[in-house]
Amino acid sequence: MSAPRRALLALVALFVSAGCGSPPPLDKRLETLGSWTATMQLAKERHGAGAITVTYATQLRDAADEAFQQASTTIGSSARTRTDSAYAATALDSLRNAIRQLEAEIGS
């Protein structure tokens, strides 16, 4: 098989293995949690304004819940110092509250 074709195959193989990187650093984790908290708040506001359906809002809540579960089990590995853990805890708390508020909004 000619050299360029072998290189192409090696490139593709590398690509497939690229999918699984190392665990993201803490600030990325906090950003993700913040993003989901903001998503919950926007969803609550939009549902209040009658813009989105309960079905859709529930799906958003489930996705946020999944992000919350995943973060709460794995964030320990990225939070080394005590201040990091403090940040992590507050981020997790604000997301949990945001989720609860959305549930209250769509529940009522």
Binding site: G19, T32, A67
Partner: protein, 405 residues
Amino acid sequence: MKKWGELALGIVTSIGGFLEVGSIATSAQGGAEFGYQLAWVLLLGTLSLAMLMEMTGRLAAVSKRTYADLLRERFGFRFFVVPLVAVFVVSLLVLMSEIGGVAIALQMASGIDFRWWAIPIALLGWFLLWRGNFSIVEQGTAMLGLVAISFAVGALVLHPTWPTLGRALLPSLPSHDHARYWYLAVAILGASISPYLYLFYSAGAVEDEWTIEHLSVNRVTAGAGNVFGGGLAIAALVTAALVLAPRGIRVEHYEQIALLLATPLGRTGFVLFIATLFVTCFGATLEIVLAMAYLLAQGFGWSWSENLKPGKDARFSTSYSVLILLAALPIALGADPLSLTNISMVLTAASLPVTVVPLLVLMNDGDILSSHVNGWPSNLALVVMGLLSLVLLVAALPLQLLGGG
């Protein structure tokens, strides 16, 4: 009058055909994380696509042969295997993402998990391809694709600051997250310059029996149509920049993107977004699976045409039937549509050289194009495009590692 009908059709096709799961997802992620800043990449992608489609359209109109046909015949099978395998693998991944997009739209509307929708979508798509002829498939999906104009409405309602957007149409370096910025740039280019688009377009020109008189229709369709389509993608970016970025929302799941239109346009915006996602992704699904069947049939010399009854081109119709069902499986098994989309967009960008560089030879071949060969401006643009595609090939993998996912 027939010429005007074809002109309108042409513009409609590229507007409806431009937006699909890749451009919606990458524009939304780009706008959410970098505001207006990546608009120039969308402009570059749109202009490149317009140029490539004009050329493959001219090739088909003048020679009455498709790009895949000429790729095999002019360069031999030994070379043809490379674009064949590259475009086939990449298009299959994009096809999966499109079906994922349609499934997500139906999940948001119905609450039933996207996994259950994958096979029904594939069967509906197969039915339309089996019964419908080329113009029904092309015009039907494109006409519906106009619902994507809702992104433009959403962006306008949010009163974008035009000067900032104007400046964002010029290349600029990011202030933060360099790897992520360039990763999204590559993904956006992959989403706008997809090989299946110009393979489908050149096959469409042959299906519609274009002749030399259609060169003006070709220029307008490839040019104006795509600029309109690109404009809608920029509108999606702007909407994300005005709705998601200020709130620090990053797009991690497709479901979040519906908030883009639900915010400026309320319930109608929400419904319009679901309709847009459903229609544009479904249209793209039909276009991609047909483009893959065309690639195989034209490459191996089978009989092919969406206007023939399936019995008349058995291998062609078997190909799209098998491929559309095959592509639905990963979604039915729960593959995450967003990461599938991102990877397929980056792989698309990486596969560009094998379909861009050969145009340098074909578009300057007097045997094929006689007096309609490329002028020096088109050749210059093509050389720049070829170099860009090589940069994308080299950059795609490292960026996937550093900025991906």
